[in-house]
């Protein structure tokens, strides 16, 4: 493998079009005869619709049509949930495209209006008269599970969507014999994903052919096609889904939404292209949120710091309906990660998924794993405090030692490879941890307290073996595919099933091909995000694009190399067994001067004037790669904060992130991914929260009230790495899209609590705003 291209921080080829504003997003597209949809959404968190009068709206200037639930009966099936968690008593509430009789969250779709232009559509929307009879609402996932709470769905008692359990070892014995037990109640607040591009769909249905093209800002166009087929009653062969430039998703564009189906319905009904682009306000209300856990956690340990058991109960808010992947996030992707990088002899977790009158919750960067890491790393710090040990020492006592090829943990996962102690040591040395502790020991300076927060993490990425997908109720496969096609001139087209949307795979995948075959990466063009053009794929989430799709591509390139070697042997009149390959050159062993390049072979394979006996023309190959296991990236993060006791203001002074994602195809892109993830995790710790009032109104409904991180609120992020290849992966890579988010929330949280320990503060509800920190300090004072 060429080491020059693989591992080189070449510039992202995506960037010129992105930074010059010339990229084409769904909303940039315009078609002849196109009309515009606007969505009428419920202003109530929970209400019965007593009447809808669309006549005034329908008569308004420019209005083409107005549809409510009654119009869609028979034409639009309910929005499906695609992760049917087994052994959990899962109850999937019916999620109509347009609400039938009852609305269950602020933002629930009530009607759609189509007009000749967007302005007419928005203006006429307010002429739709809806009478509501308000019903009591519940937002807190734990409250929702209590007797007497408002009930969302008649057929689902106590709002319980599911009850899922993970258990291993003898948890009762662990707590009975525990020498020390620490516990905490942790609120993982609701978060709003905030992709730069809001959601959008442009549906173009041609009545004469019965064919639909849907441009959609999505992380998984093939899944959209699959689900669209079922919901809208069109054959998959008649549907083309294109994800043009997609401006971020972080999980929120994994789900397939009622508004997407409704837009398609409008186009099918009208026989005209219909475009819908979400406003930012709609995005806050109606695009999936993340997190929303109420966690009760307790850890059993010995006095020397050895952990013996982890027991927890989690109420996970699902919002009003189950979004596409929602049930799998706080369960499979959360509960199975509870051993983290530690040797944990016993575990028991009960997760109650509850329906609430909030926006549906689904995957958000990290998806379940930050919530698991938070619990474990919080317990580590509490244990250290209880035993008066340094947080580092408690962790070192329990870290799984280095392993290269498999390590089974109590939750039944088999980690692929890891060297957790090395990651921790490297961070400690880089940060001068001992020096920082010495500074801290001198006490506060002018009322400002220094705090250090650690987080070790492991994540399960590269989702995942399809057999496992089936076993855990994921309604699809989890393999990926790639096609590599050499043109006569030696230029290459690559078609991939996965659908990157900002992570830079157009660049890194060209680097993979270049490394495997010796072509210039600039001669490799990567196509993705069009179901008519690319092979089947299951999408981009769970840090799987490179971990799974990259494997498919590397194996495909190797098939090309094998065929090229046969052709080269023929041209050099040598036996295939005598051939060697290096850096794009095929030659007889020991005679590298007489060689054929991959470009030579591409020309011959395409003109086929002189091919070996029995070898087909063309130089093209494809692979469907189903991984044998997940990949398990890991790392250590350290946050350094200063907390001003008088004001409660937290200043993050240093942030050190070590992430081991295996070999790095492009370290600049890896660093960018880590930066983005870290900042989103810090946002949860310090600033972000989706707040509902007692009536279920989303009061952080815009960027005026929802505090997103800004560059001036952050220190330089110090990115480190170690390299531990995955033993089961063709090029050893593990995935890095979510890594930064997984360790950073709890690292910052731990640092703030560490700073405030001298003041007696042990727990603060996130986000750690100055007001909350100040209040906690006052309470601790008594």
């Amino acid at each position: 493998m060429s080491t020059r291209i693989f591992g080189s921080g070449i510039r992202r080829r995506e960037d010129p079009r992105l930074i010059t504003g010339t990229a084409t997003y769904t909303d940039d597209l315009t078609l002849p005869r196109m009309v515009h949809a606007a969505m009428l959404r419920s202003p109530h968190a929970h209400a019965r619709i007593t009447s809808i009068d669309t006549s005034n709206a329908a008569a308004a200037a420019g209005v083409v049509a107005v549809y409510t639930h009654a119009d869609t009966v028979g034409a639009l099936q309910p929005t499906p949930c695609a992760w049917l968690l087994p052994d959990s008593d899962l109850k999937v509430a019916t999620y109509h495209g347009l609400a039938k009789d009852v609305v269950r969250y602020v933002g629930d779709l009530v009607a759609v209006l189509v007009a000749e232009d967007r302005y007419a559509a928005e203006d006429a929307l307010e002429l739709i008269e809806v009478d509501y009879e308000p019903l009591p609402a519940v937002i807190d996932p734990e409250q929702a599970a209590k007797d007497g709470a408002p009930q969302l769905h008649d057929e689902i008692p106590r709002n319980q969507a599911f009850h899922w359990t993970v258990a291993g070892g003898d948890i009762d014995a662990a707590f009975e014999q525990a020498e020390v037990v620490v516990s905490d109640r942790i609120i993982q607040q609701r978060l709003i994903p905030n992709a730069m591009e809001t959601r959008a769909a442009l549906a173009s249905y041609t009545t004469a052919t019965g064919e639909l093209t849907l441009w959609n800002t999505t992380q998984n166009p093939h899944i959209v096609r699959f689900l669209m087929s079922g919901v809208c009653g069109l054959g998959e062969d008649k549907i083309r889904v294109v994800a043009p430039e997609v401006g971020g998703g972080f999980g929120s564009k994994l789900a397939v939404y009622p508004a997407d189906f409704v837009t398609v319905f409008c186009s099918m009904r009208l026989g005209r292209p219909v475009k819908w682009t979400e406003t930012r306000s709609e995005n806050y209300q109606a695009t999936t949120h993340g997190r929303d856990h109420v966690q009760q956690v307790e850890l059993a340990a010995k006095k020397d710091g050895t952990i013996t058991g982890l027991r927890c109960t989690v109420y996970a808010g699902m919002g009003a309906y189950l979004s596409t992947a929602a049930p799998g996030i706080p369960t499979i992707l959360h509960g199975l990660m509870l051993s983290g990088p530690y040797t944990l002899p016993a575990v028991k977790e009960d997760v109650y998924g509850t329906y609430t009158n909030g926006t549906p919750v689904d995957a958000y960067r990290g998806a379940g794993r930050p919530e698991a890491t938070f619990m474990l790393e919080r317990m580590m710090d509490l244990l250290a405090a209880e035993l008066e040990m340094d947080p580092v020492d408690v962790r070192k006592k329990n870290l799984i030692p280095k392993f290269d090829d498999g390590h089974e943990v109590i939750t039944t996962l088999s980690y692929d490879s890891g060297d957790y102690p090395a990651a921790l040591d490297k961070v400690l040395a880089h940060a001068d941890y001992a020096g920082l502790r010495a500074t801290q020991a001198k006490g506060p300076i002018n009322g400002t307290y220094l705090g250090l927060g650690l987080a070790n993490y492991v994540e399960m990425c590269g989702l995942g073996p399809s057999q496992v997908a089936g076993a855990i109720g994921f309604q699809g496969g989890l393999w990926e595919s790639a096609i590599v096609r050499f043109h006569p001139s030696g230029k290459v087209h690559v078609f991939i099933g996965a659908s990157p949307h900002g992570q830079g795979e157009e660049t890194t995948f060209a680097q993979i091909v270049s490394s495997e075959l010796g072509v210039d990466p600039n001669d490799v063009k990567v196509f993705h995000g069009d179901t008519d053009m690319t092979p089947m794929g299951w999408g981009t989430y769970g840090s799987r694009t490179t971990a799974v799709g990259g494997a498919a591509l590397a194996l495909t390139a190797r098939k090309i190399r094998d065929k090229a070697k046969v052709i080269a042997a023929h041209l050099l009149e040598a036996a295939v067994e005598d051939m060697d390959y290096e850096d794009g050159k095929f030659f007889v062993k020991g005679a590298p001067d007489q060689h054929k390049t991959i470009t030579d072979i591409a020309l011959m394979a395409n003109v086929a004037w002189n091919m070996p006996e029995g070898v087909e023309a063309g130089l093209e190959a494809s692979t469907f790669y189903d991984p044998p296991n997940f990949t398990f990236p890991f790392g250590t993060h350290l946050a350094v904060v200063e907390v001003e006791a008088e004001t409660g203001v937290v200043t993050l002074t240093r942030y050190i992130a070590l992430d081991d994602c295996g070999p790095q195809i492009n370290p600049v892109i890896v660093e960018g991914q880590v930066h983005g993830g870290v900042v989103q995790g810090i946002g949860q710790a310090l600033w972000e929260e989706a707040v509902y009032d007692e009536g279920g109104q989303l009061v952080t409904g815009s960027m005026l009230d929802y505090a997103l991180p800004r560059a001036d609120m952050l220190p330089d992020i110090e990115v480190l790495s170690t390299v531990t290849p995955s033993p089961h992966h063709p090029i050893g890579v593990k995935g890095v899209g979510e890594a930064g988010t997984i360790g950073s929330t709890v690292a910052v949280y731990n640092a703030v609590i560490d700073a405030l320990r001298p003041l007696g503060v042990t727990s603060i509800r996130m986000p750690l705003t100055p007001e909350r920190v100040w209040q906690a300090i006052q309470q601790a004072k008594g």
């Binding site: 202003p43 109530h44 968190a45 602020v106 307010e126 308000p134 306000s281 806050y284 209300q285 009032d693 009536g695 109104q697 989303l698 009061v699 409904g701 815009s702 005026l704 009230d705």
Partner: protein
């Protein structure tokens, strides 16, 4: 959200009471009120233009006075909706004689939904208080300088 206020009038309770149930006076003093038409016993249809933060809009709704105990107390029930969202609220209004005049106290709640909740929630308390202050100041003015 709770909203409370207390206002004094240089007039006996009966005079203040008469003013409070004088719909022309109420309509004239209610900030942004475009119309107020009776639609039943002590119930009125109201059209109101109101601005909260950057959100200005026209609301249509009803105002109803219930449990009238002249000249001591009544309850007000308000419902309205418009493009920026909906408002529901209610309040207990009490009149007590005080130093030769009348003290009017208001103890109410208000709920909002839609855009005003999403974007204007932080300001609703103070906007509601400001509107109420203006309303009563206007009524006080009318009592002092009858039209």
């Amino acid at each position: 959200m709770n909203i409370t206020g207390s206002y004094t009038f240089d007039a006996p309770p009966q005079a203040v009471w008469d003013l409070l149930i004088d719909i022309d006076a109420v309509a004239a003093c209610l900030p942004g009120c475009e119309s107020m038409d009776p639609i039943g016993d002590n119930k009125y249809r109201v059209v109101l233009t109101m601005g909260i933060a950057a959100i200005t809009g026209r609301y249509e709704g009803t105002v109803e006075m219930r449990d009238l105990e002249p000249p001591c107390s009544y309850r007000l029930v308000v419902e309205g909706r418009g493009k920026p969202g909906f408002v529901t609220g209610g309040g207990a209004i009490s009149l007590t004689a005080s130093d030769g005049g009348t003290r009017v106290t208001v103890d109410g709640t208000v709920q909002v939904g839609g855009t005003i909740a999403r974007v204007g929630q932080r300001l609703i308390g103070s906007v509601a208080k400001m509107m109420m202050d203006r309303f009563f100041a206007c009524l006080q003015q009318r009592l002092t300088h009858p039209a």
